[in-house]
Symmetry: C2
Subunit: 321 residues, 2 copies
């Protein structure tokens, strides 16, 4: 028998893994039955520190996240990891070899790992991720890591919708990868250069620092200057510095107006993404009637995309379907 | 003095490059002044064949697109290329070295190349891209190539919103890249394995064919079986086959119900994306009043994200601001 979401809630609050997993699945699927419960969870949430991690393919993010998770764990924290995985949506299953490296964390009750498929045409990845963060938050996880594998616009936005955003670079990547990297550097609160055991890491670090110095001259008044931390997952080096940088940024947010501004920025992002997702869900629910007919008129070029978009927002605004 | 968009239209229809560039900029910026003109353009558009191209970083997409563009050109077609470039939004300027390789095309009047920045928090990339396709369509470009550099959800969706979608693979890429590739194979109408001059290309081609054969056993009834074409941009090999595959898919769409279904799928995607974009634009316009107050209530956890999203759709549905 299916347990109602509101009956799962007390068990989630106690940190019961099975209840957490079920509610996460419902949140991911945007199940309307769990919406009220997610509202209650949202009202209670807000204790965890959320770390968004992104970086180009090949930067060794997943391994770095696994080592970082272990270090936070050793410091006595409970750690939740939400990995957003682009390989799942179209092919139907995650095949990330990197996930396997996390298995050493998987036996530990203080660590919860969730691999979330990006949701293809149905969208809603941002909404689902932030709902999942709330669930892990009220379940007692002190640090919640959002790791995005892709570096598309959506993934970068989600990594930014966190308290502390880490951008991972690595030595020895090709030109095209470097160009993508340049596109995401600005969202970093902390820069990580992984694979620091490689002989060419020193050059990568000094190149990065130089790039950042150029940026600083534009915004010299910034209250927070993103530090560059070098880590080696292979040798386990640099993680004390990384944890210290995370703690420092956390303290900075708590002590300054920046924390409040950050929370508002996340709230605005979340509000918009949830509205977009509700629009999308209703769009698919109603595609048999209204939407289908409107799409036909668009195909035959009787109306323009803007007119169709306007009508859609207006029609979807009606609360009762 | 600023020329009105409706006065640019006759010049766009004549294929005047300066007028095209100005209207593209306005469409990208979602300038409300050009919306009516875009509606007129939409009503006239629909002649071009749109090719969406995506592939993992390092697959040699941009070089392949440049060679393909030249081949289509040699066959007497006018070619428009819209390159969606993730390096631009945050760093403020495209630094793709690959763009340079396109410069040999740039002197040709029959080729129009537009590099479009992904638009960060403002979103709207899909809407802007499809509006741009219309502009190039009515300006007389026979083939319009949408090339996405990133492989995030948004980019993959945009590459799919085309008549023929090409997915580019290449030999010798790492595990993480391969996993990302697996996530996008299903959207392909034509598979391209680039860098076929490399000795390890043969293995990549047979691996890909094997993967596709596994997929085919599930959907044996499919009317179109995506072919695998090997190309070498370096040696200029395989492009006759590639152009033939494109023409074959074009003919398939024209001769079957699949073409109509495809058009409706693109129209539905476009309608939803335009609605989302209008929602987003109004959201930012009104952030001083309604939205700001609602975000504050969200920060203080007085309302839930779902309730806020509902109110947002309802409020934005009002046509007059």
């Amino acid at each position: 028998m299916r347990v109602a979401s509101r009956d799962l809630l007390p068990r989630v609050l106690k940190g019961e893994v099975a209840a957490i997993a079920r509610l996460l699945s419902r949140a991911e699927a945007a199940d309307p039955e769990c919406r009220e419960t997610l509202g209650e969870i949202y009202a209670r949430a807000g204790k965890s520190h959320v770390i968004g991690i992104t970086g180009v393919p090949g930067s060794g993010k997943s391994t770095m996240v696994a080592v970082l998770g272990r270090r936070l764990r050793e410091a006595g924290h409970k750690v939740g990891i939400i990995a957003i995985d682009p390989s799942s949506p179209y092919s139907g299953g995650s095949i990330m070899g990197d996930r396997i490296r996390m298995s050493e964390l998987a036996g530990d009750e203080g660590v919860y790992i969730r691999s979330m498929a990006t949701r293809g045409a149905l969208g809603g990845m941002a909404r689902a991720t932030l709902d999942s963060v709330d669930i892990l938050d009220v379940a007692g996880y002190d640090y919640i890591v959002i790791e995005t594998v892709g570096v598309g616009q959506d993934e970068v936005e989600i990594a930014s919708a966190s308290h502390t955003t880490l951008v991972v670079s690595a030595p020895g990547l090709g030109d095209e990868i470097q160009a993508i990297k340049a596109g995401i550097l600005e969202i970093a609160d902390v820069h990580v250069v992984s694979k620091s055991d490689r002989p060419d890491a020193r050059g990568t670090i000094s190149d990065l620092k130089q790039m950042l110095a150029l940026g600083l001259s534009i915004d010299a008044s910034a209250a927070w200057r993103p530090p560059v931390v070098a880590t080696s997952s292979l040798k386990g080096e640099g993680f004390e510095e990384l944890v210290a940088a995370l703690e420092k940024h956390k303290a900075f947010l708590e002590a300054s107006e920046a924390g409040r501004a950050r929370s508002r920025k996340i709230a605005e992002f979340r509000m918009l993404k949830t509205a977009e997702d509700l629009l999308r869900i209703r769009f698919h629910e109603r595609s048999a009637g209204l939407v289908r007919g409107m799409a036909d008129r668009l195909v035959s070029r009787e109306i323009s995309p803007y007119a169709a978009g306007e009508q859609l927002i207006e029609a979807m605004g009606a609360r009762n379907p």
